[in-house]
């Protein structure tokens, strides 16, 4: 498969998953705000901090209010990670591989783009916003369903899944981080009903509430973190994402699990293995935010290695074997 084609399929999926998760971020914040004690002001700044684009936001908007933050995350074409920009990026990438993907996939990407574009052009009331966020999530799910059901599960499909899952792993870690940035009214509130409500809002944003209850029964901060990080069977949990991403990576390279042929496999394998042999106490002892931060940096390195290994091969020796250019 052409590197450019693989890269486009991978990025269509990263962008779409990113858009979906931005909708989740906004949802979690809306819910958290609703559940704050009376008299506390809404906090929007933490949401921007979670995305990692805080500097860009401050430079462009200054003060974080509900309006500026929503515009930045949903409709700002200058923010490369806004929902609108993600859909533009996904559509352009899909357009350039139209002959590779199924026409149903292309049509869904196109419809998804139009949904976002129209909402942005029209502007949204508070009521519309909730409906819009729900639409974004289901449009993303629909595209994945179509991809799964209409595209051969060959190399291209595995690049699609790889893009989806690496993006999701990163974003789930950020959803978890929202809780770190959101300030409780006082330190004493830890463990109070407010705190508990916030943890369950978090689970809701990751569509994880029901599955969490089945696993743990009641809300406890460490269990929530354990579920979103380490649960091997929940599809939005970080560990699940890494296990399946690694499967795809090995299918693409044709190498055995438990071994590696390239830097991408090596880095992803190590990261996944770490999650296999860690428990939530280990994570919490280090500090959950620090754990998440470190994880995101490592995951970025996996992304870089994938791009270098598959999307930008550079030169060959006379024998024809491929090497990475140093």
């Amino acid at each position: 498969m052409l590197s450019r084609v693989a890269s486009s399929i991978y990025w269509v999926n990263r962008y779409i998953e990113r858009a979906e998760n931005y909708a989740r971020f906004i949802e979690v914040n809306l819910n958290l705000s609703l559940d704050l004690p009376r008299g506390t002001i809404e906090q929007w700044e933490p949401l921007v901090a979670t995305t990692g684009d805080h500097e860009m936001f401050v430079a462009r908007y200054g003060k974080a209010t509900k309006e500026t933050v929503l515009h930045f995350l949903v409709a700002d074409a200058e923010n490369p990670n806004s929902i609108l920009s993600c859909l533009l990026g996904a559509r352009e990438n899909a357009r350039s591989v139209k002959e590779i993907i199924s026409s149903e996939m292309w049509e869904q990407v196109n419809r998804f783009y139009l949904l976002v574009r129209d909402a942005v052009t029209r502007g949204m009331s508070h009521h519309d916003l909730h409906a819009f966020l729900a639409d974004v999530k289901s449009a993303s799910h629909l595209l994945w369903g179509i991809t799964d059901a209409t595209m051969s599960h060959g190399e291209g499909w595995h690049f699609a899944r790889l893009g989806r899952l690496l993006e999701r792993a990163d974003k789930t870690s950020r959803i978890l981080d929202v809780k770190y940035f959101i300030l409780l009214p006082t330190a004493d509130e830890v463990g109070t009903p407010f705190d508990i409500i916030q943890w369950s809002d978090l689970l809701k944003s990751a569509s994880a509430l029901e599955m969490y209850y089945k696993r743990y029964g009641r809300i406890a901060p460490d269990d929530v973190a354990a579920f979103l990080i380490l649960e091997p069977t929940f599809p939005r949990a970080i560990r699940y994402c890494l296990i399946k991403a690694e499967d795809s990576l090995h299918t693409i390279s044709g190498s055995e699990r438990g071994s590696y042929q390239n830097v991408a496999e090596k880095r992803l394998g190590r990261l996944r293995a770490e999650l296999d042999f860690v428990d939530i106490e280990d994570c919490v002892t280090r500090g959950l935010h620090e754990f998440v931060d470190h994880f995101q940096a490592r995951l970025n390195q996996v992304g870089e290695a994938i791009s270098e290994t598959f999307f930008a091969p550079r030169r060959v020796h006379h024998t024809g074997s491929v090497t990475e250019e140093q």
Binding site: R4, E92, R95, E99, F159, I252, V316, S321, V322
Partner: protein, 474 residues
């Protein structure tokens, strides 16, 4: 729908020989139309348009918004070419392409035709399509032009004339293939009644042609596109799908150790044949345009050394120059010692003093074309232009006479076209496609372009033209 009052007027009509009198091959079609209930044709037209929309048949327009796509306008009344007419076209095109190929090969080797003063050598050297880099090259089998699209027009005398030779990257064949699909859905009963020659084998013929460029048993062939913003991207993508070839952009290709490779997820894969849909000057920034982002550095060197084959061969554009077109009848005489079967349209080459003077004096009667532009860009239609436009055109001709030719405004033939719920005559041309590999193949059909605006003579899709299916009868 009744057609007893249909009036071909002063024009040659493709389906009617007189008022209400269909030609032999069209009678069945028109009887069928007449038997349809009122409004039915319109319904089928709308159904066809829906099919086209869903197929995503689009073209882009230069100068509009980047990546601006439009749905291709389509008319469901086919243009019919009867068997004897087609035989003439077929033999005429074969003759023309054989001669043009010998001409290109000669121009890059011995230049006998220049030494014998049949064509002024300055005209060749000043042609943008003439590439010094191709001097002395021997493309596989001595074939330069593998894919050609020759524009034909028919005028009041009922004869076909060659209007233009598209020898670089002729487009439109995707519309021929898709138009046929649409028509089969729209009028299945007519396809049962008529013996229309099929066009569907074009992709396999093209693949065969491309394979003939390599001696390998299973060469790796790619289609090189400028990318998804190109106006013909739809076609590039469709041909790639139908031939099962990789559709690559220049950035996907890289020259390593003298050979062309594509970047794949498994590393670099050697490429043996490139069907390029970009013009010569964008092929290789090392040789042509250092400012170009579109090219593949080193590809010309690989090509010269026989490490990769390119279709059409670089340098073929010299035969696409509209000033050189004027000499094609002489070229046919010279190389084949035959008279041209398909005549040229009378052409004034502004580079020649006498022709230029005539052109400047008769601008209000002539169509002026830039010698290196395609798609109707840079064209001035004298009788329809304003005084200002004609004066601008005169200035351009005087500033750069080599770049312009002029032709009389032709009374293009018309073909009945659906307008609301009845048919009216609209002007048409015809672009058949010719493949040259181990043998010559003329696709029995072609792109019939129709000027949908009443009275308009401009059939280019970028300028309000549409498309019809072309039925060659056997």
């Amino acid at each position: 729908m009744k057609f007893s009052t249909y009036d071909p007027g002063e024009f040659y009509d493709e389906l009617f020989e007189g008022i209400g009198r269909p030609r032999r091959g069209s009678a069945l079609l028109l009887r069928k139309f007449a038997s349809l209930p009122d409004g039915e044709l319109r319904k089928r037209q709308q159904a066809a348009e829906r099919v086209i929309l869903n197929m995503g048949m689009t073209f882009g327009v230069y100068g509009g918004d980047e990546g601006h796509e439009q749905i291709f306008p389509f008319d469901i009344v086919p243009r019919i070419v009867e068997a004897p007419d087609w035989t003439l076209i077929d033999t005429g095109l074969r003759q023309r392409l054989r001669a043009l190929n010998l001409f290109i090969d000669d121009v890059y080797h011995e230049q006998k035709i220049l030494k014998d003063n049949v064509i002024p050598s300055e005209l060749i050297y000043s042609s943008k399509g003439f590439l010094k880099a191709c001097w002395g090259l021997n493309p596989p089998r001595g074939i330069w032009c593998h894919i050609a699209g020759i524009d034909l027009v028919r005028i009041s005398d009922g004869r076909y004339y060659v209007l233009e030779d598209n020898m670089r990257c002729p487009s439109g064949v995707a519309y021929v293939l898709e138009a046929r699909q649409v028509m089969k859905r729209t009028f299945p009963e007519l396809f049962e009644a008529y013996r229309v020659r099929p066009v569907d084998e074009y992709p396999s013929r093209l693949l065969e042609t491309l394979r003939s460029l390599s001696d390998l048993p299973d060469p790796t062939i790619v289609i090189l596109t400028p990318g998804s913003y190109n106006s013909a991207y739809y076609e590039h993508s469709l041909l790639a799908q139908k031939m099962g070839l990789e559709l690559v952009e220049a950035g996907d290709l890289v020259v390593i150790d003298g050979s062309v490779h594509m970047r794949t997820t498994k590393g670099f894969q050697r490429v043996d044949v490139i069907y390029r849909r970009i013009n010569d000057e964008y092929l290789d920034p090392l040789v042509f345009r250092p400012d170009s982002l579109l090219g593949i550095p080193g590809v010309m060197e690989a090509y010269k050394n026989g490490r990769v084959a390119i279709a059409n061969a670089p340098g073929t554009g010299v035969a696409d120059d509209k000033a050189i077109y004027a000499y094609v009848p002489k070229i046919i005489n010279y190389y084949l010692a035959e008279e041209p079967i398909l005549p040229n349209v009378p052409t004034y080459v502004c580079w020649e003093r006498r022709d230029r003077d005539y052109t400047l004096e008769h601008l209000n009667q002539l169509v002026v074309k830039a010698t290196n532009d395609a798609g109707g860009y840079g064209m001035m239609i004298g009788p329809q232009a304003s005084q200002q436009e004609r004066e601008d055109c005169a200035r351009r001709i005087q500033a750069d006479p080599r770049n312009y030719i002029a032709q009389p405004t032709l009374a293009l033939s018309r073909s009945p076209t659906l307008v609301e719920d009845h048919i009216e005559g609209r002007h048409v041309d015809l672009r058949p496609y010719v493949l040259q590999g181990k043998g010559l193949y003329v696709l029995p059909g072609g792109m019939t372009r129709v000027a949908l605006k009443k009275g308009s003579l401009v059939v280019n899709s970028s300028q309000g033209g549409g498309n019809k299916d072309t039925w060659v009868l056997s």
